[in-house]
């Protein structure tokens, strides 16, 4: 037989899931929360999401033209765009939303080498960039529900709590409160999280240790002791759920080691608590995660798995 067959190193079979299919699942899992945001805040929310997605994908496409490499097909820019949009208030000027997308993809992702090389979550880094650059527009929240018709500037539930007012915890869990587009509905976010857990895209190590450690921190240092209503409000508000399930779990910027993921989750829980209870602001998920991102190399270094059979290598050496 003279014809030649294809040759490659083993293994010769591959699992079906790909980078693009994983990103697609994340997009699908984000849809309930995004959809609720549009329902809650109106059509302009959809416009903001569209702008951030287009600006993220567009930036990556243009950078790809420059690098002569088409990378938008892996759908990671769609995820970044969607997440960024969900982290913005509905009132944000569209050019700011677009600028955030450019910053996320160009500065945080592409300039560091593209997918897998960024050391911060692009969407969150962009949100932090916008919060620092345009603090007023980034905290311009409108109240929703009946009052949304004649929109006036409202405060997020956590800000209300911080200033000593009471909030309806049930509204917070359902999401009929104000905040960024995608963060208000705990139920919608948890539905999305279940999709990710079910398909094995994420596991509970990071979100679980994050939420549990934050809850413990709240009980200890939140100033209210073990008060279910207060605790529920703290857990449901301020983008904690969105952050814990969708942003702290970002593969690229969380530790890859199992033990490291617990350490990282606990760190996020503590930092979020510090920002919320000891700092001047009412929220702190984004900054906690971005800060956590910076510690990942260090955490990974000290949490390497112990190889099967212990540390070997004698026979060969």
């Amino acid at each position: 037989m003279s014809e030649k067959f294809k040759v490659s190193s083993n293994p010769h079979v591959r699992a079906a899931s790909s980078t693009a299919s994983i990103m697609m699942l994340v997009v699908i899992a984000l849809l309930p929360a995004a959809g609720f945001g549009i329902y809650n805040f109106g059509a302009r929310a959809a416009l903001v999401l569209l702008v951030t997605i287009v600006s993220c994908v567009g930036t990556e496409f243009l950078f790809g033209l420059y690098k002569k490499k088409l990378t938008i097909t892996d759908l990671s820019a769609v995820v970044t765009g969607l997440l960024l949009g969900m982290n913005l208030p509905v009132t944000i000027p569209l050019w700011m939303a677009a600028l955030g997308g450019v910053f996320a993809i160009l500065v945080v992702k592409c300039l560091f080498g593209g997918l897998g090389q960024n050391f911060m979550n692009p969407a969150l880094a962009a949100r932090c960039f916008l919060v620092i650059s345009f603090p007023r527009q980034m905290t311009n929240f409108i109240s929703t529900g009946a009052g949304a018709l004649d929109a006036y500037t409202g405060a997020t539930p956590l800000a209300l709590i911080k200033s000593g007012e009471s909030v309806n915890v049930m509204d917070m869990i359902i999401g009929k409160t104000t905040g960024t587009i995608g963060e208000t509905s705990m139920i919608a976010i948890v539905i999305g999280a279940c999709i990710l857990l079910l398909f094995g895209v994420i596991d509970l190590r990071v979100p679980g240790s994050y939420i549990v450690s934050f809850a413990i921190f709240t009980i200890l240092f939140g100033g209210h002791g073990f008060e279910p209503a207060y605790l529920s409000a703290q857990l449901a508000g301020g983008g904690l759920m969105l952050g814990a399930f969708f942003m702290a779990t970002d593969y690229v910027t969380r530790p890859i080691t199992a033990r490291g993921q617990y350490v990282y989750g606990i760190f996020l829980g503590i930092m979020t608590g510090i920002f919320r209870f000891l700092g001047p602001g009412a929220e702190g998920v984004s900054f906690a995660i971005v800060l956590g991102n910076l510690l990942v190399p260090l955490i990974e270094k000290y949490t390497r798995p112990i190889p099967f059979g212990g540390k070997g290598g004698k026979r060969h050496g």
């Binding site: 037989m1 003279s2 030649k4 067959f5 294809k6 040759v7 490659s8 190193s9 083993n10 293994p11 010769h12 079979v13 591959r14 699992a15 899931s17 790909s18 980078t19 299919s21 994983i22 892996d74 990671s76 593209g114 997918l115 897998g116 090389q117 593969y251 690229v252 969380r254 890859i256 080691t257 199992a258 390497r304 798995p305 112990i306 190889p307 099967f308 059979g309 212990g310 540390k311 070997g312 290598g313 004698k314 026979r315 060969h316 050496g317």
Partner: protein, 438 residues
């Protein structure tokens, strides 16, 4: 009953249905047979025949080149045509004895022991060594060496590796169904070498027929038990198997004997049975011929030295034009560019696929998802090791325990970015192993 397993591993499509229900068919040798002198781990065998010599079936044609080595026997009667380098599955050219089959099938008179029960340990080991038996699951480690640990009294378990965790492969399955008594007898012979050992027949639970059959065959054997393993690749990997059955762990610097275990594959144990009770050397084996490009997929009992081209002809050739042909299983087998390659003692299968899954997928950047860490039975960090290998950072590679990789292929299989992780790590390991030999 509790099922046994290990941590990590994957569940690839197993493809065993294609060939598992058809009985084994014996194939006759073709006109020319090629016997590589290196079909095992260790020193190559030394030829003891010359060009032009006439040899018989079962005759030793090359003797062991050292203690860790194994002799080679002819599987046909005929004339030595040449002793020259020939290509083997790995792609290397290996010095081989080429024999022209005279079609007479003249066989040597085998030295059959009168009373098998009376054989001493020494005699059993000699019979195994003289029969040229090596690990037939693929590794090719000389069996007599494996069965001669420093302290035989410290061996507590002799494990028959009947997991057959490689997808598509069904040769062990057929062997267990068709000749289970030989497996049991072979295991009993090996147990005679280790007075304090228990025999464990470890079978993945996707072969319930074999489990039932072997349980009933061994119900009166006090020294042998059958254990069902959870079906998962690489359950049949030596380290995974020892851990699954005994809870003991070995790393790359240890031998199974260090934790009181000896592991042998089904086919190897049957070869031991044949060598000890019938005096017959290793000169045939069962090869699974399967894949979507094969016309008549099934298991064939073939003489060693036969070429894959001939097996394919007997098997009715290709149903469709294959894109890729693999010697061995899809996880650890070797892709070959031509089928003009001889079957050796370690050839487990010939797979032919109409589509090559690997070249169809473009590798992308690592997204740090961590799936490779989850599936790695060696519990190392494949993605980081591959990075270190890629930038040739030997220090980082060793510091991150790169040598603990068993090259099972789980990481490459699972990687959503389709990175060739196993390949990167393997290349680096090869370099490190070569350095250490110096």
């Amino acid at each position: 009953m509790a099922k046994y397993t290990f941590r990590g591993g994957i569940h690839p499509y197993d493809g065993k249905d294609i060939s598992k229900d058809k009985p084994i068919v014996s194939l006759e040798a073709g006109s020319v047979l090629v016997f590589p002198l290196s079909q095992h781990i260790g020193a190559p065998a030394k030829p003891i025949v010359a060009k032009g010599d006439h040899v018989l079936r079962g005759q030793k044609i090359a003797e062991a080149g050292g203690f860790v080595s194994a002799p080679v026997h002819s599987s046909v009667s005929g004339t030595v045509k040449a002793i020259e380098p020939r290509r083997v599955a790995s792609g290397d050219m290996v010095m081989s004895i080429v024999i022209e089959n005279d079609g007479q099938n003249l066989e040597v008179a085998y030295d059959v022991p009168k009373d098998i029960e009376a054989l001493t340990k020494e005699q059993i080991l000699t019979a195994i060594r003289e029969a040229g038996i090596v690990g037939m699951g693929g590794a090719g480690f000389p069996t007599h060496v494996k069965l001669s640990p420093k302290e035989p009294d410290k061996i507590e378990y002799v494990i028959a590796n009947c997991a057959e965790c490689e997808p598509y492969l069904t040769s062990d399955y057929r062997r267990m169904l068709e000749e289970p008594e030989k497996l049991v007898e072979g295991l009993k012979i090996i147990l005679r070498l280790f007075d304090k050992a228990q025999g464990i027949i470890a079978i993945e639970d996707n072969k319930p027929g074999c489990i039932t059959l072997l349980r009933s065959l061994t119900k009166n054997e006090t020294r042998i038990s059958v254990r069902a393993l959870i079906t998962k690749y690489p359950q049949g990997g030596e380290r995974s198997l020892i851990y699954a059955t005994t809870g003991r762990q070995i790393n790359s610097s240890m031998l199974p004997a260090d934790v009181g275990c000896i592991v042998n594959n089904v086919d190897t144990i049957v070869a031991v049975q044949r060598a000890v009770t019938e005096g017959k050397p290793l000169m045939e084996r069962i090869v699974t011929v399967t894949g979507d490009a094969i016309k008549n997929p099934r298991n064939y009992k073939v003489p060693t030295g036969i070429s894959y081209t001939e097996i394919l002809e007997f098997a009715g050739g290709f149903a469709e034009k294959p894109e890729k042909i693999i010697c061995g299983g899809p996880m650890m087998g070797v892709a070959i560019f031509s089928t003009d390659i001889p079957v050796t003692k370690t050839s487990t299968a010939l797979l032919a696929f109409t589509k090559d899954a690997v070249s169809a997928m473009e590798p992308g950047p690592c997204i740090n998802c961590g799936r490779c860490l989850e599936v790695c039975p060696g519990r190392v960090m494949p993605s980081k090791l591959a990075d270190a290998a890629e930038r040739f950072d030997e220090e980082a590679f060793l510091e991150m325990h790169g040598m603990e990789c068993c090259e099972c292929g789980c990481c490459s299989f699972i990687c959503p970015a389709k990175r060739p992780l196993t390949q990167e790590i393997k290349s680096m390991r090869k370099i490190q192993l070569a350095k250490r030999k110096k």
